[in-house]
Amino acid sequence: MITLNHYLILAAMLFCIGLFGVLTSKSALRVVICVELVLNAVNINLAAFSVYVAPREAVGVNFVIFLMVVAAAEVGLALALLITLNRTSDISAIDRITRMKG
């Protein structure tokens, strides 16, 4: 019997792997797709809660759809930024971008 907890633990695992990727990748592109993985983990949580806790109302699933919209917008913008960055400067590694220094 697969319970809600199974889905949640799987989502937690994906989340942590994604987080690890965000923290350790030097390539900006990989950071972006790791963020996508993190968002997917959240989506699994939402869908699982929606199905198990409130099956009659598809509220959580609605949130998944909104999250997908936000993720699509985010990925589009991030990739545009990457292209710009790649064109105007020689940077491909994210840890070389240190202009945000106080």
């Binding site: 019997m1 697969i2 319970t3 907890n5 889905y7 633990i9 799987l10 937690a12 695992m13 994906l14 942590c16 792997i17 987080l19 690890f20 990727g21 923290l23 350790t24 030097k26 390539s27 592109l29 990989r30 972006v32 797709i33 790791c34 993985l37 997917n40 869908a47 699982a48 199905v51 198990y52 099956p55 009659r56 509220v59 699933v61 609605n62 998944v64 909104f66 997908m68 919209v69 993720a71 699509a72 917008a73 985010e74 990925v75 589009g76 913008l77 990739l79 545009a80 292209i83 710009t84 790649n86 105007t88 400067s89 020689d90 491909s92 590694a93 070389r96 240190t98 202009r99 220094k101």
Partner: protein, 220 residues
């Protein structure tokens, strides 16, 4: 062992393996392919949850649009030098430790957690739509707006004839932040004054006459 359990573990295994591949693969193209596997497995999990609509959306949006987009970017940008995508060992271990600790805590907590699970028939696409277009119709419209704005933003950012003359990032130490030479400051101030004047804007907090160097004030 029911088929549900088998299917869940299969999909979960694919998802986790894909995620690990995404993080650990040394070439970016392999990472994107692993991502695709993960996204596909997650779509299958949505099916297992009984939400066909979500599964379809996952395939369209993630498996289709986003993966293709990432691939395009991979093609358009210059490849990073071999082995450049490895961060320092210390960071690796710290991040690994932190993430493992986090997962440990979450797994223990979630393993013990007891949720009030309700029984009932799963919802279908129709019930989802009835909520989306009634209760959440305003967020739905706003989400459309967000997408449009993101689209415009992406176009503006990635446009070839870039009006913004971004200075190339100098190597570390070449320029200490906050140390402008007087000439640079004057030039920056002059640019600022010109642009503001060209737009016909007079910012409220305009510097008093003494604060702008003479050549900047006289540039206009």
């Amino acid at each position: 062992m029911s088929s549900d359990v088998v299917m869940f573990y299969t999909y979960a295994l694919v998802a986790v393996a894909g995620a690990l591949g995404l993080v650990l693969a040394s070439r970016l193209i392999h990472a994107v392919m692993s991502l695709f596997a993960t996204l596909f497995a997650i779509a299958a999990l949505y099916l297992l949850l009984g939400s066909e609509f979500l599964a379809a959306m996952q395939l369209f949006v993630y498996g289709g649009a986003i993966t293709v987009l990432v691939l395009f970017v991979l093609i358009l940008t210059r490849p990073a030098p071999e082995g450049a995508d490895r961060t320092r060992k210390g960071t690796m271990w710290t991040a690994g430790g932190v993430c493992a600790l986090f997962f440990g805590v979450l797994a223990i907590t979630l393993g013990r957690a007891d949720f009030r699970v309700a029984a009932g028939q799963s919802h279908d696409a129709a019930s989802l739509a009835s909520i989306l277009f009634s209760r959440y119709v305003l967020p739905f419209e706003i989400a459309g707006l967000v997408l449009t704005i993101a689209l415009i933003g992406a176009i503006v950012l990635a446009r070839e004839d870039d009006v913004l003359d971004t200075p190339s990032d100098l190597p570390e130490g070449a320029r200490v932040p906050g140390t402008m030479t007087l000439g640079e400051a004057a030039a920056a101030a002059a640019t600022y004054v010109k642009e503001e004047a060209a737009e016909g804007l007079a910012p409220d907090a305009a510097p008093s006459p003494g604060s702008v160097p003479a050549e900047a004030g006289g540039a206009e």
